[in-house]
């Protein structure tokens, strides 16, 4: 039992109260969002030293709303609520989120939250990869007020993010994307309730002429300390007309962007090989979503 030291369970009524509790309890406090990640840690005996649990469910952070033409996702929004939001269900640009949220089983979708998933900074999770491809950023609140950090800067290392002590994640922001943008996400898993062996998210934006004006390519699942943005792939795509050949050559470039790990679940070489295939397939899927005929 990893958490026999827990003495107190707090249910703050606002984000401000959360900051006060963090200030009061410091390292002895752990934030509780959906709890799926946290319980997983505790089940593995990783909760020693935790004395106070701060449950965020009453802190008013459960929402999906339009913000600056894009989306603001409250930290306590569950996967299911996010998946059922209109923007995620209907648009091509946020489709990577739709894809990513189809993988976990119902119980996880009902329980896991956007904020909990992102703040856990696991290199194996799915949603962060999709959010990275959408240029997401993180809004946090701390003693010195709110601030925004790009997701790219948020993820630092295995299970480590860049927020300072006393700060916590309140919101994920997704910017408005240019018209003719579409995204897609794909994941290799062993069974349907698994952490990714490899996952990929892509986003492409086409210009008037149908050329690839912008692209984001993100790989996760054991390819680095955090999900990796594959800039070499993006470079191949930019300015080019989408085609199978283009996507294939972009996918081949991923080799120079990632350093996949070898572990008991798969070798680095295999992760690399699958990343290329999934990348090509994800690009094709995104292009399909724009109604583009792919030669």
């Amino acid at each position: 039992m990893g958490i026999s030291g827990v003495r107190e369970f707090c249910r703050p009524q606002s984000a401000r109260d959360v900051v006060d509790l963090l200030a009061k309890h410091g390292d002895r406090a752990v934030l509780l969002a959906g709890g799926t990640f946290l319980h997983g840690l505790f089940a593995r005996g990783l909760g020693s030293g935790v004395e106070v649990l701060v449950d965020l469910q009453k802190a008013g952070l459960s929402y999906v709303k339009a913000a600056n033409g894009g989306l603001a996702l409250g930290a306590m929004t569950t996967f299911r609520e996010l998946a059922e939001s209109e923007a995620v269900q209907k648009t091509a640009e946020f489709a990577a989120i739709r894809d990513a949220l189809q993988y976990p089983p119902a119980q996880i979708r009902n329980q896991a939250t956007v904020g909990g998933c992102v703040a856990s900074a696991s290199s194996l999770f799915d949603l962060p990869v999709a959010l990275l491809a959408l240029d997401g950023s993180v809004k946090s609140l701390g003693p010195r007020g709110p601030r925004e950090t790009t997701l790219a800067k948020f993820f630092v290392d295995y299970f480590e993010h860049s927020l300072e002590k006393g700060e916590f994640l309140t919101e994920v922001l997704l910017p408005k994307l240019p018209p003719r943008s579409a995204s897609a996400f794909l994941k290799l898993e062993t069974n349907s309730n698994d952490l990714a062996l490899v996952n990929v998210a892509v986003r492409i934006t086409l210009d008037q002429a149908g050329l690839c004006r912008d692209a984001r390519v993100v790989i996760g699942g054991g390819v680095g300390k955090a999900p990796v943005r594959a800039v070499s792939c993006e470079a191949v795509l930019k300015g080019q007309r989408p085609s199978r050949t283009l996507f294939e050559s972009a996918a081949q470039e991923v080799s120079s962007d990632i350093q996949p790990v070898s572990d008991h679940r798969a070798s680095g070489q295999y992760r690399r090989a699958v990343a290329k295939v999934y990348l090509r397939r994800a690009l094709l899927r995104a292009a399909e979503r724009l109604g583009v005929e792919i030669a």
Partner: protein, 154 residues
């Protein structure tokens, strides 16, 4: 230190003292004697402990009891109405979907939530709905039959 909380389980209100670290699963089984909800992995990996929290299927081993205050909890014991089995329970019997039965409570609770919104679900949708529940006996084949049967019998 234990804290006293109120939980509404199967329509009944209980005031109980719980450790702040206690999971909903522990409280259901150890404090409320609701032994129909099963523990098999205690780490969100098997689905045996699935219950409904405000109508949503969750792994009760991953919910703190303290977080379940003000929410309606439904366990397998809460499904029969007026002494009659829930159609899903009846379908699990009729389809032969029960073997050792240890996963059955969780399986039925996952299916219960699914059928509140799914109309005429396809087999792949049914399979997706129970993909968070492991079963080592049945190969899920008759479980899918049972859920399909319950869905069409409404």
């Amino acid at each position: 230190m234990k804290q006293v909380i109120a939980l509404e389980v199967n329509g009944e209100r209980h005031e109980i003292a719980v450790q702040p670290s206690a999971t909903l699963l522990q409280v259901l089984r150890e404090e409320l004697d609701l032994l129909g909800t099963k523990q098999a992995c205690d780490a969100g990996g098997c689905g045996c402990c699935t219950v409904l929290l405000d109508g949503r299927a969750v792994y009760s081993c991953m919910v703190f009891a303290m977080s379940a205050q003000d929410k309606k909890i439904t366990t397998i014991e809460g499904l029969p109405k007026d002494g009659k089995l829930d159609p899903l329970q009846e379908a699990f019997i009729q389809a032969g979907a029960v073997q050792c039965g240890y996963c059955t409570s969780g399986m039925i609770m996952a299916a219960k939530e699914f059928l509140t919104s799914a109309r005429a679900p396809s087999d792949p949708e049914i399979r997706q709905a129970i993909s968070g529940n492991l079963c080592r006996c049945t190969g899920y084949h008759k479980t899918v039959d049972a859920i399909r049967m319950a869905a069409s019998g409404r």
